[in-house]
């Protein structure tokens, strides 16, 4: 695949099977992917791979940091990174979501996610 023009996507999801599905879906959309099973792991990956332009994270995760805290951290540390937050819980407190972050409902609809990712690439680095 040609990753030349598209940013890489970091997928953060603690459920391995669902992570596998998300990786497949996003790779099929033409993106290079990285994956992490926790927020701590995700930050490590972010620190070592500068080609990541999109953070695609689940909210409910075990550990000290959930997806929302991770998103807030990434927003401050790597401001240009586009943030997409996935959750099965619809009632989200807007105050918890970093500004400009997109919400992706679970389970994923491939067309919807692909469209959102391509729209997001226009914003990367903006």
């Amino acid at each position: 695949m040609d990753y030349q023009n598209l940013p890489a996507v970091l997928i953060v999801e603690d459920e391995p099977l669902i992570r596998m599905g998300a990786v497949d879906m996003i790779e099929e959309a033409g993106f290079k992917t990285y994956e992490a099973g926790s927020a701590d792991e995700a930050i490590e990956v972010m620190q070592t791979h500068s080609d990541i332009g999109i953070l695609f994270t689940d909210i409910d995760m075990p550990g000290t940091m959930n997806g929302l805290k991770l998103a807030a951290y990434v927003r401050t540390t790597w401001p240009p990174v586009v943030i997409m937050i996935a959750s099965g819980v619809i009632e989200l407190d807007e105050a918890d979501v970093p500004s400009g972050a997109a919400f992706v409902p679970k389970p994923y609809a491939t067309n919807h996610v692909t469209k959102m990712l391509h729209e997001a690439t226009g914003q990367v680095g903006a």
């Binding site: 459920e15 099977l17 669902i18 992570r19 596998m20 497949d24 099973g37 099965g88 819980v89 679970k106």
Partner: protein, 485 residues
């Protein structure tokens, strides 16, 4: 008890009558006649004993000659006088013999014992006698009036006592805490339940002391709500945590209503506290359960979503895809059943493996299952079930379980071993033998990706599929802690 004022009863007629004891001479007849002329009833008796009887029946007044007081039955008279009720002191008019200077000490003492007596000198003077008798009867009437008044007071006191006792019996036998306040909200009553619940000394929560019994986080809200009710007269209702005598806070429903006078002014507030802790906790648990259920259902749907997408992508045709999807969904449903039975916490690995392989046991002795029955978490159990399902399905189609012969065998073995760094490591292997020659697949399907990527992830370990020609094998390695994270 209050007596009737109707004059039919003999006692009532006696109340306004004069009892006369003048055994000698014509005194009795003269006095009786004189009183009759002035519409004053009288009754003449012959002895002190009879006179005592009249006193017992509350005669209005007594006219007696001095010499009669010295007669037989003086003790009976004294007893009758002493037996009078506290309000009663029957008035005597004593017809004296001569002047006090001529009276013996003995005779004077007898008159003194009557306590409420006047002396009239003989010969009888008509006006003097009638005025004395009227005055005595009038005083006697006042005694009766005082008695009635006293009886009424006693009745009211008794009724009040009974009503108070009834109130306390009700207030202290109900299961709720009851309190009341003055119109300004000053607490001045709590029933026994309040003190039983809180364990505080009686009176210590009067006034504004009650607020200190609330959980610090609830005090402000309760105060605001209570002040609002006091200002507006609106019904008070709030849930808050109240300190129990054990030191724990329990959820309580507090309610109060104002009582108003005829002009609509609030005279008091009456309130209750109901312990709703169990209901409240159950409700919280129910909400928590629902949230958790929602999460699990969504998660399960997400897993089904992945499985369906992957199956569709890798199937040759829709028919194959349908069979594969149905089989996988069926397996996931069964795995959920077992997890529900295990309260979705932990289960045992032997049970998980036996159950996963059961649908694929087509012949005797095809499977050899061996390993320690260690605990395994719900996520790992589900992932292992799915992996074993994929391996078994593959074996039935292409591997050791395919074909008509029963030479094909599968060994499922696991163990816990000590690594060089002292950590406990879990090893699980799947080894097929006796089947047709194995050729690696041209592309990796859902099953192999599920096993190599997802399964390893659930166990926080590594997994490897090996397509050896003599039989497919699979090896999972993970820290023992990975089974239950």
């Amino acid at each position: 008890m209050a007596s009737s004022s109707e004059p039919e009863t003999p006692d009532d007629a006696l109340l306004v009558s004069v009892g006369i004891l003048a055994p000698r001479g014509r005194d009795a007849a003269v006095a009786g006649q004189l009183l009759d002329q002035h519409d004053i009833a009288s009754t003449s008796v012959a002895s002190l004993g009879e006179l005592a009887g009249l006193i017992g029946r509350q005669i209005g007044a007594i006219l007696v000659t001095e010499e009669a007081l010295a007669g037989v039955g003086v003790d009976t008279l004294q007893e009758a006088l002493a037996a009078q009720p506290p309000w009663s002191d029957v008035p005597f008019i004593v017809l004296a013999n001569g002047t006090s200077s001529s009276r013996s000490n003995h005779a004077a003492a007898r008159i003194d014992q009557l306590s409420n007596a006047v002396l009239l000198s003989r010969p009888l003077h008509a006006e003097e006698l009638v005025r004395s008798v009227r005055s005595a009867l009038k005083a006697r009437r006042r005694q009766h009036e005082a008695r009635k008044h006293l009886e009424q007071l006693e009745l009211r006191e008794r009724q009040l006592f009974e009503s108070e006792a009834k109130f306390h019996a009700i207030a202290n036998s109900v299961d709720q805490m009851i309190w009341s306040t003055l119109p300004d909200g000053f607490h001045d009553y709590y029933n026994d339940r309040w003190y039983e619940f809180t364990g505080v000394p009686e009176g210590s929560t009067d006034g504004e002391g009650w607020n200190g019994m609330f959980h610090p986080d609830d005090q402000e809200k309760a105060w605001a709500r209570w002040r609002h009710s006091l200002e507006t007269g609106e019904h008070y209702e709030i849930e808050y945590r109240l300190r129990h005598r054990t030191g724990q806070y329990r959820w309580v429903l507090g309610r109060a209503q104002p009582v108003r006078d005829e002009a609509g002014r609030i005279t008091r507030w009456y309130g209750t506290c109901t312990d709703i802790h169990e209901i409240k906790v159950a409700e919280e648990q129910r909400q928590l359960m629902l949230g958790e259920m929602n999460h699990r259902v969504k998660n399960t749907l997400a897993m089904v979503n992945v499985m369906v997408s992957q199956t569709l992508r890798q199937s040759e045709n829709l028919k194959d895809a349908q069979v594969a999807i149905q089989s996988r969904i069926g397996m996931m449903a069964q795995a959920h059943d077992r997890l529900i039975k295990a309260a979705w916490a932990q289960t045992r690995i032997l049970e998980v493996i036996e159950a996963a392989l059961a649908p694929h046991r087509t012949g005797e002795g095809r499977f050899a299952i061996e390993g320690p029955d260690v605990p395994i978490g719900s996520k790992q159990a589900l992932a292992l079930t799915m992996a074993l399902h994929e391996l078994s399905t593959n074996a039935t189609k292409y591997g050791a379980l395919s074909g008509d012969g029963d030479d094909g065998k599968i060994a499922v073995q696991w163990k816990v071993a000590q690594a060089s760094d002292g950590a406990e490591v879990f090893h699980l292997s799947w080894t097929e033998s006796g089947g047709p020659l194995v050729t690696p697949p041209s592309r990796k399907g859902f099953g192999s990706r599920m096993i190599e990527q997802a399964l390893a992830g659930y166990f926080n370990g590594s997994a490897e599929l090996n397509y050896a020609p003599q039989g497919l094998s699979f090896m999972l390695q993970a820290p023992l802690a990975g089974l239950t994270i």
